[in-house]
Every structure is written in C-alpha cells, then in structure tokens.
Symmetry: D2
Subunit: 374 residues, 4 copies
C-alpha cells in the first residue's frame, strides 16, 4: 500500500470509512503561510453530502482538526497532520454483506489482497470517505496557488448522458467562469444553469430506478506559468493523472482535446505559437496547456470520466465468498446516485496538490512564501 | 527533472536525440533471471523506424549494450545499466530551427524551463528517441512477466479516423490475438488485416499532404493475478497512467470502457461477479480488470490516445524567440507521419514496467525468480 | 522537511511538544499481523519519564490511539495512523525563552530555517517528545521481527565517564543478555548491575551541579539472517545510521569495533570465516555482522554516542535574537539530566524499523505474515 | 538493491569492477551550470591509484565520458549520465577465489544475497571501483557549492596508529588548510607534513608484513549557511551518514566531538551562542556545526573511521563454499595497503552530494544557478 504521493510537497492519507477518523499528513509547505480555516471549511462543505436526493444521506460536519504544523493561524514549516472524525457511521448496513462482494467495488479485490483482514465496513479504506482528507490538504494547496494568482476550477460537462458547456479558451471569460464555480456550493456545478435541471431530473430518474449515473468533469487551471513539469517521468500529465486516478470512480483522464485528437491531423492538433502582448501564446489549445509534459502558459485543461456510482439498490449478481456459489446482493445504506457534484472538489484538490509539488520542485520552497505575501 | 520511476522496480532513463547515447538504469530485478538478447533485439526492432513511408527514414540498428548488472547471460541482482548509441543523427536539419519553436513540441516549454541551455538538436531529451531506452528495459520486464504466464499486447484500434477491432473479452481468444501481435514486427499492428490497408492509405494520404495522423492504442494484459495495485495513491490505474503519460504524444488514458462509462448506469457498468471453474470472474469487463485500484483477475484493458505526430512538413505559424515576432516554420528532417506502429511496443514496455513494480512490491523479489524457473 | 523514512516499510512522524498530539503513519505492514497492545504499552513505558531524579518530571501516560489500519486486534494491510495526546505541557516555562536560543538545541537553527513561524514551545517539533511516535511504530516492527526470531536490544555501555560491560559475542549468552534487558523497565538499562549504582550517582552528581551527562548505547540484533541490506546506497549501515542520527542527541554511530578499527591491521579486523554446525560464521565480529553493507548472519552490533542533555539549569551564554546582543539564559522546566535510559528504546525502535524495511524489500510483504503465523 | 540516493539532487551509480564500465546518472542539477572538465579530471586523479607502494598497482586513466545532460560545456538541466570504462582488469587473479570468500569483503554476503549470480570478479559491484562514479558526480556537486562559497575538504587525522593534526576551528585558518588540501594531489593528505613520513613508514611496514592499515578521515565544510537540513528524518547528520556509510570500509561516522561527547557534561558540550560581526556564532563547535539536525552556520565537521583494507596478502582462514569445509586463502591481485589517501576525495564527494541535495530542497533549483553566475 502506498498512501503517500509527492516529492517536494507530499500528502499521506489514512483512514477507514467506519474507523475512528480519516486524515492525512501534508509535507513540504513553507513556514508562515496563512491557514484560512474558513476557506477550508467551505471546501469541505462542497464535498459534503446534503441528503438532497442527489447525494448520500450520510451527512457529516467534517471539521478538520490540525494536530501539528499549524500554529497561530500559520504553517510552521513542519509536517501538517490533520484528522476528520467519523461520526455518522451505520456499520450494521454492511454486516450482511461481509461475504458478498459488491460489483464495481473493491470488496473482492481487497479480500484477495488483504486476505480478509481488511476493515470492510462501509468500504473501509476504499470508501470515498478518504477523499475528505484529500480535500482538506487540497484546500491548503489551493490557498498557496491562489496567492500566486493560480486558480483551479472543476465542473460537470456531461452527466447521465446530458452534455453541458465547456470552459472558454479565452482567459478573461475563463476567469469569470471560475468565479461562478467558486460561488457554487450547492446543487450541480455546471456553468450554464440551463443544463442543471435536465441533469438533476436524469439523476433522480436513475435513483428512482434504484440505479446510478456517471459523467465527465472538466478542470481548468488559470495563471499557471510556463515551465512547470518534470519529464521524462514526471510530466504534468503523468503527475496529475497519477493523482486523478487515485480518486475512486475515475476511469479515464485526458488533457486538452484528449481522445478527440485521435481523428485530428497534425496541422489541426498542433497549437501554433503567436506573439501576444509581449508574451507567447498559442492560438488554439488542443494540447491543454502542456507541450512535452511541461506547461506552456496557456490554461491547463483536463477531463476525467467518473463512472456511475457502484453502489446501487438494484439486485445484483455476485458470488458468496464463504461458499463460492453464485448469490444475489441487495444493498442497503446511504449512497449517492451521482457523485460528480461532490467529486469536483476532490478533483480540484488533486490538481492543486500535483501542481504545487511540481512548482515547488522547480521554484523552491521560498517561492511558496513570496506568493503568500502578496 | 525526474527521470526515474518505480519503487521496488525502478527505471532511470537518460539521453538526448543527438547526444552520444540514450540509455537507462533498471533497478530491482532479482538475480539469476535469464537475459534473452534475441527477445530484446526483437522488441527494439518493433520500435525501429523502417523508412517504409509510415515511419521516419532515420533508421538505426538500436543494439542494446549492457554496462552492468548482466553477467553470463543472467541478471546479477545489481543495477542494470545499458546504452544505445545514437548513430544516425543529422543535426544540421535542426540548426535553422534554433529560435523557431515547433508547434506541438517541447521546444518552447524547454526553452522556458531550461533557459536556452537545453540540447535542442532533434528535440533533445524530448525526442521519441529516449523511448528506445524504455523498450530495452521493458523487454527485461516483459520477460519476467512472461515467465509467470503474464502476457502484454498492444494494437491499433483507431488510426486516421478508421476504427479497427478491439481485443476479445474471452481469455482464450485474447490469447490467440496476443499471439498474432507477437508475430507482427512489420507493418501496422492491427488484429484484423482488413483494417490495415485502409489505415495505411489514410496515413500515406496525410503524408502526401505534408501532414500527420493520430489514433488510439489498446493494451491487454492476460494472466495478471488478482490483488495487484497499491492504493490509495498507487492504484493500478495511477501507476500505469503515470508511465503512459510519459510517452510523448499520449494525451489520454482510459481503463476498460473508460469515457464511455460517462453515459452508463451503475447497473450496466458494474461487472457482476460469477463463479467459474473454481475461480471468481466478472461477466463483463467495463472496469478493465481493476476494482478499487486493484486487479481483479480479469484481463487488464486500457487505451491511450496518440496525438498526430507534431512534426509535419506543412508550413506552420510560430514565434521567433530571438525577436519575439511572428514567423513561419518549414520543417526538414525525417519524421513519422504516424507513430502508432512504433509506439505500441513503448506502451507494452511501460505497462510491463509498472506491473512488475507493483507485483514485486506485494509479492517480493523472490517471486521474480520463482517465475523464471518455470 | 522530510518526516518520512523507508521504502517497503515507511514511517511518517508529526507533532510538536506542546501541540495537540504527536503521532505517525506506518506504511507497509502486511495484513493480519497481531497488534499486541500490551507490548506496545510496555515499550511506551520504557520511554516514559518517571520523575525519579534521572529522568524529567514531565510524566505522561502515553497511550497510543490507533486511528486506522488496525481492526479486530490485527493489521488490515492499510496505513496505520496513531496519535499520542500531549497532556502534560507547561508552555509558560518557555515563554521567557522566546528570543533566547538555548545552546545545544535547535532553537536558533529552527529560527533561521522557519523564520520565526515554528512552534517553539517545549522545543516544538525538535523535542524528544516526537520520539514517542517512533517507539509506538517501533513496537509494531519489533513484534514482526520477534515473530521471525529476530531480537533487538540496547543498553548503556558508558555513562558519565563510567564504562559498563558490552554484549557477549556468543549467541547463547547474548540471548540471555537480551532477556535481562527485556525485563528491565525501570532504572538504568545496564547488563551488569554492578555498574548501575556508580552511574546513578554520577548522574545525580551532575544534576546537583545543574548539569547533565552523556554516554554510549550499544545495540545488538540476534537472529538476523545473512543477506539483508541494499547497497550501494542502502547498506545496513547507511539505513540504520540514517535512522539513528534522527534521534535527537545522537552525534556518532559505529558498527562492530567501529572507531577502534582505525588502529587495527587487516589481519586483525577481517573476521575469518569458519564452518559451524552446517552454517558459516566468523570467528570474530569486528565488522559487527555486516560485510559490504549486507548482514552476514552474525549478531549485528552497533553503538551510538548520546551527547549530554542540552537542557541544563546552569546559566549559559546566548544571544538575544530580538536585539542581537549577548545575553544569559537560565532554564526552567523539567529536563532529564541523562536521556540514555529513555533513549535506548528509541534506538531499538529505529533499528527495528530499518531492518524490517530492508527485510521486506528483499523478502517481500508475504514474509512478514509467514513469521507471524509461527 | 538501492543504487540511488537523494531527493532534489539524486545520484544513481552502477557498474562492476571487471564489467565494461562503471558510471552514474546525476539528477537535479539546474541548467546552465558550467562543467569544468579540468576540475573533474583533477578530482578523478586524486582518487586514482598510483602504484606508489601506498596504493594499488591497478592504475587507470579514469576519463569521465558524459553521455547526456551536458552540452556546450554546461549542464542542460536534464539527467547527466556518465561512464568510466574499466580498462585495466585482471580477472584471472580472481578465478581461483570463486568459492573462497575473502574475510572482511562482501564475497560471502553477496553469495547469500544473489545466490551465486553476482559478478564476483574483482569484488564486482562491491569493489571500490564504483566510487569512481561517486567522485565524478561529486566533482559536479562540489563545483556548484564552490560557486556559492561553500568549500569541502577531507584529510587524514589518524593512520596506522599515528595521530595527525585536526582542522582548526577558526574560519580563516580553516580556509588556509583547505587550500593546502586542494593543492595536494599526491602522497598522503595530511595538514602537517611532519606526520606524513611516519604514516608512510607505518603503511609500508604493514605492506611488508603482507598486511594493511586503517585510520580516520576528518571532513570540514566552510561557508555552509545556517538552516540546511530536513529533520525529523533528513537531518544533516542522517543524510551525510547515509552517504558516508555507503563508502566501502567506513565503519563509523561522528559529528563534531562525536564519541568524545560521551564523557562531557552539558555545560561543556553545549556550544554557547555569541554575537560576532553582526552574525551569530558559537564559541566552541562540539556539535560540529549542526544543532537539531540543521546547520548553524559554523563549519560542519565530521569524521569517519576507515577500516584497514580487507584485501591482505597474509594467509587467511575461510570456508570453501563448494564443500562447506574450512580452507585457507592466499590473495593475489593488486590492492592498497591503505585506502585513506584515495578515500578522502570519495568522502568529499559524498558530503558535497548530500549538502547540495539538502540545499536544493530548501533553496530551490534556481539557487544553484544564482551561485554559478558569481
């Protein structure tokens, strides 16, 4: 098990869904950075379930408690450990499932890997609950990026078969779109409100069928300087995809035009360089702001596919591990019919963590501080 | 720059396109594994350009020379260093480009990152040439996997807008498909020969237009046991995507049904478990053999999108870095109109490296040796 | 800051002396290992201060609370996070010192490194308090080693200028000596009780002078198989010294005859090989059980020098950081006149952590489990 | 096997004594640093054997050949790979030893670890020959440090039982001593020539007895700023000892007064702070320039014990691995009766590598470049 990621900036996460707490240790933040508890709380709130029919009824306050590395409202420069207590657990919902692995979940693979010793209650370490620790750490990273004028935002561009609008290529428009997403703490994070109601209806229809839906999340990073990325192996794409594929339910990651580039010719896909206001930009952004694994100064754009929630209330075929015989499974418990609204802030957090690591590797720890003085 | 990847098994790569050599250091192979030079040569040959109109005219013999870690035809257990000399370089083709960054390439981003000190000849460290070192190391990793009955194969499922056939889900048929691909050292690696000629025509048509094409490569791994993967951060998907996005030109990675899962419901996307001959399998494989970041014993299936070759002979817009003014660029040199045929063995190699690392982390170094005794 | 160490087995520590808690995250233990809370409590107890005149009056119960990775009394195979609350802190003792760095401590260097943002209360992250987390993790590692018949023990061989006796070279006698040390939870951990009273008197004499004393700790590992160590860079000596020099107050580490080898000739220092009961042993052990960075099957023997406790009650010269002027410093608070009695279990823990990491790297995770079934 | 060390700056080494080459890959140097081939050659020359009766008769030119990462006399910012061919090997000297492990060497432990697959000729990967790669990389690191006014020097303070003089505490005198050592490429690196002849005689006397001698090397670093070191685990002492114990023959490492601190009281060992010319210094340096694992701005001082060369020409007892019976061993070949003269530049190199890594972690890659512009 590798529950750590990052070089100059490194996050370790720990916890099981129904254990005492989930949490993390964040290494590599400079000393003296302000810790904005209100911002952290807002981020946690974006990930929080609401029991609104779109997300699970397991609602927890998710207060981040710092155990180290934060003093007088600022980072001390040493490891930042934090915990989030697990308060609202109903393990009895899972007792009946002990020998019936849920399709699409890690129950079976964890059983093989850990030989039955895993804490399987609520999915244990494989529960989406662990991503609360990612969001807490991500809030700190996003704060450092913001102090340098680097903004990250994620929204739903497809959900339950309904296509929404994408981020604008033009930086000023993109900035305004990120403002909109910042302000959204409720409902579906879409740019164009016209898509929200159809998506909401489609999600509710699936839920009524005891089923779930998936979709696609798009992330943009505005203000990222050129020169970020450490190829050969730590290209921007490699580092971010590593982190993004750690989010349960992500099954695909693409940068810029991604899979659509399969059908392009080089003359379409190459983004020509252009002088603009004393800088160099590209006149299109099919490469999503990354050339040769290094940022080129254009907005970084990526998408992930979020598979439909594996926990559904329909009866499913499985195998009883105790007997080796075919069995059927009927889930109870509290599950999101669609996790995209909550996953978007996890995605923001992963992107922020990866970029802060790469930036710190090349620009140094002191760089973090300079930004925060602005 | 991070030119190393892997924990228990680790590869470092080095080299510039027109420097004395490219090469690598592979750590973490057990002692006493046979080093099959003929197999290595065959793998290098698959990556080699042929000057056949599909691939570049820069043809090099690509003999792998071991400097350490191999003795009497077997691994010694210490670091395996190897080099591949760069013999066929025409740096003069690049001299004129010194201040004109090629769109879609790393020229501009390397200039920003390295401040002009990079060896830009032939793309330098960002050249596809460096992947020759990956293929050499990958051949060793594939050999260890093969000794354990784990097979890896990659083919073209889409190229220049033409869709080919995909791998079969059924293991015996998949095994026969992997045989076909093993045997293919020439031409386009497609499963169904019917697609080869149309793809070839489309590539040649693009080349005739002084342009290039992209496509999609699909990889399958047969025989991978359940239980491989080290989440939270080192899920199978995270580790493999990290490596795959290190291949120049890869802009998207998906596992199983990938982006198509966006439009599925949970009841479709969940792969139900089924008892089968004393084992547990899934009756579909939308998750590509991975649940919760850990292999489930089904074939591992993933796809990458390869963007159209950035080097095209059409005139392109760029910026002269010396003057900051708009300029046009006319490439010379030798470039593949389509790199999919050569990239497939790089993809096999990356997958083999990642899986061998994960397997060794969980099963230990001695596991590598047991297999080799078979 | 790098608060993590280890490859296959990895420990992260966090915490400040007067913050809410110290703790750690231990990665890389196999699933299903028994977690012996009584043994952990005994180890914590060995590190605990007693207010007995030899150790500080800051007495804390030091109960280890697991937050993750332990379920039903066994490891789950996922990250083991644990915390120890800081309950007995008297920050007011340190308030006066805010601008007066204590000689021999990290106050000044932390001030330079963290620019005043560090939590300096009680030495903050540089307090010996953080070693409580090392002992908790070490207890788990020692348990795994013990299940494989590998025993670790540390004792005082020199203190306050008084030389005690050393470990025996002969394995059976060494085993009995380790029994003696296991049983010792109180007083000074010395093999020969005859040395205890003189050492105790010398320590008390120093304390009466408002001063402190240092000494040398010797560690032996019995039952370590040959073949452990990962040179070139991860020799047994490199890995263990890395960990041992992380213990505050360690200023020297030597293996086997160590610095005394400076005056030997090769014919003395080389340990000749000898057949013995079907095994190969060496007839002397000047190399401390390590040849070429790899264990040779003999007892591993190493020593560390523990400098005299930096906190003394004598008046000392320092500089007032606020004014840059010379100043004098008079410490208050609760400090050990000699930390050797408490440091020995930290040393055991560091050695256990390093060896378990090296063993797991070469023997694999499954090795951990086999042992525990014995 | 872990043949890599370092975070921001990382060295991988490879090679066997009688294989085609030894070499390394150095990661993490900024772009645009001058590569001073004459300085590298001088460093290699210091490590080179001379066949002067003090060092082995295996004399090799040791020309460093860069394969990547260096272009037009400067670093490019990408991985720097280099090789040193093995030209003067006499494997026949070792053929007779195949089953007779040499006492004090890694022959036996390598046999156990690698199961007989290791390349044992000339000690293989465990030969001192591999340190040539360390010296090559170290020369680059020393160059970067020198550009920032940081100087490293190592000398013999004890050899064959003869005590020489130590470095001065006073910076200006220390600077002159480092000048003396820089100039010394021949003979014994001692500060006071009066000790050279007695040491030389003692070495020759041991050689005449077909035996070898050991000693102690002291290293000082002048100009290191305060604030370097990444505790908890990556204290200056931890990182440097890790590297120093990777040097074959090092069996002990101490900082400042080291083991002598065992008998000090805190009032002696604490180095009081003192204002001096607007800076803060300490009036003594028992802690060797390190407090709490972080440099304090005083000269960094450390010592290592180098055991007597394991290769001696006296008859020695061993075990025939083929039969398991006792045997005697009579070495042939070319071996140093004393490796201290050659080891000193390896020690300089290891210290430079470790400090450059720590400095780059805290000050960033750009820091490397600023220095080089001076």
């Amino acid at each position: 098990m590798r529950d750590s990621f990052g070089n100059a900036v490194n996050l370790t996460v720990f916890g099981e869904s129904h254990g005492p707490a989930v949490g993390g240790v964040l290494h590599g933040l400079a000393a003296g950075l302000p810790v904005d508890e209100a911002f952290i709380a807002r981020q946690m709130d974006k990930r929080r379930a609401r029991g609104d029919g779109l997300t699970t009824a397991r609602v927890e306050p998710d207060r981040v408690r710092f155990l180290s590395g934060v003093y007088k409202g600022h980072t001390t420069g040493t490891a930042i450990a934090f915990v989030l207590g697990n308060t609202n657990t109903r393990s009895q919902d899972y007792a009946a499932l002990a020998t019936l692995p849920r399709p699409g979940h890690a129950d079976y693979t964890a059983q093989v890997k850990y030989g039955g010793w895993q804490d399987g209650r609520g999915g244990g370490h494989f529960s989406g609950r662990v991503t609360a620790a990612v969001v807490a750490a991500g809030a700190l990273c996003l704060g450092v990026l913001a102090a340098h004028g680097i903004r990250v935002g994620t929204h739903i561009i497809r959900c339950a078969g309904i296509e929404g609008s994408r981020f604008a290529a033009e930086p000023d428009r993109l900035a305004r779109q990120l403002d909109i997403l910042d302000a959204r703490t409720d409902g579906l994070p879409v740019l164009d409100a016209a898509f929200e109601e159809p998506m909401r209806q489609a999600i509710k229809a699936a839920a009524a069928d005891r089923d779930s839906v998936g979709g696609v999340l798009e992330t943009a990073v505005l203000g990222l300087p050129a020169g970020v990325g450490e190829p050969f192996f730590d290209s921007v794409e490699s580092v971010l995809s590593h982190l993004l594929f750690s989010i349960p339910a992500v099954k695909g990651v693409e940068f810029g035009s991604g899979f659509a580039m399969a059908d392009m010719r080089g003359s379409q896909a190459n983004d020509p360089f252009l002088p603009w206001n004393g800088r160099i930009i590209t006149s299109s952004n099919h490469n999503g702001g990354v050339n040769g694994g290094i940022s080129n100064g254009m907005p970084l754009v990526l998408s992930t596919v979020i598979k439909p929630t594996a926990s559904i209330f329909k009866e499913q075929a499985t195998v009883d591990l105790a007997t080796g015989q075919a069995a059927t499974l009927q889930l109870k418990g509290r599950h999101d019919p669609c996790i995209l609204p909550r996953a978007r802030v996890v995605q923001d957090s992963m992107v922020a963590l990866g970029l802060l690591d790469l930036l710190t590797q090349s620009a140094g720890l002191a760089w973090q501080q300079k930004g925060s003085e602005v």
